[in-house]
């Protein structure tokens, strides 16, 4: 049974999505429990896969019994297994949280909503575990189509944001598809490992086609992950989408795209090509520096809580793109570590923003006024997430940033180190401002009137289904922080196959 675990990661949410769409027509109340059960099963399957990978090394699962490259295969190594666990756990926590607000925000359509939610999760899991470059495109589109719909089910402004996302997302995915086509015209294969082997044996690294394929794939993925100059679609999408939609998409979609970038650079093209033959590290790291600073400064300018957090995502994307192109083993370890820790800390603060919105109905940061007294447990969860985003030990954020900074120092990219520290400082300013408002209830002098004064008196602790995921996420952040050595050893096992120490300058 355990050798079939990889397919179960995906099969449970995917089949349940179809069941929910059917059953939900008659029994709306069944949608939520079915979603939970399927995601729970998916978490078990992904954990079992991770255990197998750690024990026996990478798994190659032949779909349809055809040996690759003739058929499609799952290729699961340490990186995919870790990200798959992250995706399924985040999805489960978000699903628990969604109980109250899906019915409130999308009445009459909760079965469609849960169906799309599960399809999004299966799309993301499919991206993570597949070993076929074209299959990745199909999964990318499953995830993309569902996210357009999940955003567009929100209010007026969300629809426009979703349309922009649809246009940008299609350009990104089409660039990726074209890049795969360019690889195919030169190598004649679609299997990732096979492409790599043909690239090496046929000596195609000097071909302009491969160069353009690399550019197309990288730019396509950058659009999808909202890397700085291409980020314009992201803030409005995540800020105005229904709460559950932004809770699932903010932590996962950009992070999975970063996974795709890491996978493409390391497994398909190889660090030798990306970092040595092309030698673009400095340009990309500088782009990442600009992204980090632009994201952080953009966050400073926001009064809307969720919109402020979306700008932090843009800064975090800069961390990880820069971390990969440091071309240093420690830096890349940090990048992969940061994919995981950032998924959980983004989830943590977005869950908090969702609770605040559900309880007060206000979007701006002054809604936090006096929260420490009214909902102490919620604030504890928020504090852990905020400390992790700032980078205070023993939270996960500290350790992943530590590896990123180490990588920056090792490779001599001081501008990156400085940008990372400035951004952490800005995060500290941002979150201590929030904590100040929440603790002292400081209102601006001009009397910021937000029409919710009456509601505030009644605000009490969040309900159990909202609190449980928030506190679990906070606990996970601390656990990852405490067991960072084990996590790093899995990542370094994965990286050891690439000879990164020798392939850098």
């Amino acid at each position: 049974m355990t050798e079939q675990a990889p397919i179960f990661i995906l099969l449970f949410p995917f089949l349940t999505a179809v069941i929910v769409a059917l059953v939900g027509l008659r029994h709306k109340s069944l949608s939520w429990p079915l979603t939970l059960v399927s995601l729970g099963a998916s978490v078990c399957a992904s954990l079992s896969t991770l255990a197998q990978v750690v024990e026996h090394g990478p798994i190659r699962y032949k779909l349809g019994g055809w040996s690759p490259p003739f058929g499609i295969e799952f290729h699961i190594d340490g990186l995919s297994a870790l990200v798959a666990v992250t995706v399924s756990v985040v999805a489960l926590l978000t699903a628990i949280y969604s109980k109250d607000n899906v019915d409130a925000e999308t009445p009459d359509k909760s079965s469609q909503y849960y169906s799309l939610f599960l399809l999004l999760v299966s799309g993301l899991l499919g991206i993570v575990i597949t070993g076929d470059a074209f299959n990745l495109y199909v999964m990318l589109e499953v995830a993309a189509l569902t996210s357009y719909a999940l955003i567009a089910m929100g209010n007026k402004r969300a629809s426009l944001a979703a349309f922009k996302y649809l246009i940008m997302g299609t350009i990104g995915a089409s660039f990726y598809l074209l890049g795969v086509g360019y690889l195919y015209i030169k190598t004649g294969s679609l299997n990732m490992l096979d492409i790599r082997e043909i690239l090496e044996t046929a000596g195609l690294f000097n071909s302009p086609t491969i160069l353009v394929a690399f550019i197309l794939i990288t730019v396509g993925v950058w659009i999808k992950m909202a890397f700085f100059p291409l980020h314009s679609w992201l803030p409005n999408c995540y800020a105005f989408a229904p709460t559950t939609s932004s809770n699932i998409m903010a932590p996962l979609v950009t992070k999975v795209m970063i996974y795709v970038m890491v996978r493409m650079v390391l497994t398909v093209f190889g660090p030798n090509y990306a970092f040595e033959i092309l030698d673009w590290e400095n340009i990309v790291v500088w782009l990442a520096v600009i992204a980090i600073l632009a994201g952080s400064i953009g966050a400073l300018a926001q009064k809307d809580l969720r919109k402020m957090l979306t700008f932090l995502i843009i800064a975090e994307v800069g961390y990880m793109v820069g971390g990969l192109w440091l071309a240093d083993e420690t830096g890349i370890t940090g990048t992969i570590f940061h994919i995981i820790s950032d998924a959980f800390m983004t989830l943590c603060v977005f869950l908090f923003a969702g609770i605040v919105f559900a309880k007060t109905g206000a979007r701006d940061i002054y809604a936090l006024e006096g929260m420490f007294k009214k909902m102490p447990l919620t604030m504890v969860g928020f504090l852990v997430g905020a400390f992790s985003l700032i980078g205070i030990p023993p939270t996960a954020g500290f350790f992943s940033k530590w590896y990123l900074v180490q990588g920056g120092i090792n490779s001599g990219n001081w501008e990156y180190v400085v940008a990372l520290l400035i951004s952490s400082l800005i995060n500290a300013v941002l979150f201590f401002r929030l904590i100040e408002i929440a603790y002292f209830g400081k209102k601006p002098a001009e009397g910021h009137d937000h029409h919710h004064g009456d509601d505030h008196a009644k605000v009490s602790e969040a309900s159990f289904t909202m609190l449980l995921p928030l506190l679990s996420t906070a606990a996970i952040l601390i656990v990852i922080g405490l067991y960072n050595k084990e996590l790093v050893s899995v990542i370094q096992d994965f990286l050891s196959q690439f000879n990164l120490a020798t392939s850098i300058r």
Binding site: A152, Y182, G188, L211, A213
Partner: protein, 251 residues
């Protein structure tokens, strides 16, 4: 925006043209994509491994069956997404900006007679395309779209209500889900029998013939599943878009 567009187009176009010079000539049988064990294997071995003469069908439904399953899911997703975005339940709520009203007279004799004659033929042809995908161009997607077009034609010629009598909204969703269950069911069944997901060869246990025959028959099975989903979702997309999600009048 215009300037931004022109700059994007010039940069991308320049980049693509650079690579184009490096491509093998168009139609060159010795290009890496064609002269490769992957494409050669599909051409020469398909008949032996699956007994299907249409290689496209074999590669689609068997070698890359997993891709195709999720392709069906993409269609299903689009259907659910459009219902999620547009559908308005309950008594019709007036939009802020009313649609231009159309002439809602009874359709004239010519249109009605033509449809009455055409629709059965279209449906029959759709079934032929689905069933004959192993030997000629065709298959689940193509046949499904043609079948869906028959219902759309009915809705266009009469009105949405008439077409809804044949395929009401719930039945559409049921059909779409059944299609996916048929496809995924082949995979789950092979899991139950102890092989990998979608490995049709193990289905000899329930299908007549040997392992290759099982592949042959399963491919027909999954094509039928695909056809169910595509038919249902094509009509669902049309009826939601045409009636603005109210499922009342249509165009």
């Amino acid at each position: 925006m215009k300037i931004l567009g022109i700059i994007t187009v010039i940069i991308t176009g320049f980049l693509l043209l650079q690579a184009e010079r490096d491509f093998p000539d168009w139609g060159d049988a010795a290009s890496p994509a064609s002269d490769n064990r992957l494409s050669q294997h599909y051409i020469t071995e398909t008949i032996n491994e699956t007994r299907v003469s249409n290689m496209v069908t074999a590669v689609l439904a068997d070698y890359r069956g997993y891709d195709t399953m999720f392709e069906t899911v993409v269609i299903f997703t689009a259907g659910i997404a459009i219902i999620g975005i547009l559908r308005v339940y309950g008594p019709s709520t007036k939009l802020e900006h009313p649609e231009p009203t159309l002439d809602t007279e009874k359709p004239d004799l010519i249109i009605e007679t033509t449809c009455r004659l055409l629709i059965p033929i279209i449906q029959l042809f759709a079934l032929y395309v689905i069933a004959h995908g192993h030997y000629s161009p065709g298959g689940g997607f193509q046949g499904g779209v043609i079948f869906g077009a028959a219902f759309i034609l009915l809705a266009l010629a009469r009105d949405l209500q008439t077409a809804q009598k044949w395929v009401p909204e719930n039945r559409v969703l049921n059909l779409a889900a059944i299609g996916i269950f048929i496809y995924a069911g082949h995979g789950v069944l092979s899991l139950i029998f102890g092989e990998n997901f979608l490995d049709y060869s193990i289905l000899t246990k329930v299908l007549p013939g040997d392992a290759i025959d099982a592949r042959y028959h399963s491919m027909l099975g999954v094509e039928i599943g695909v056809a169910f989903t595509v038919t249902a979702i094509m009509f669902s997309i049309y009826s939601n878009l045409a009636s603005n999600g109210k499922m009342e009048e249509g165009i």
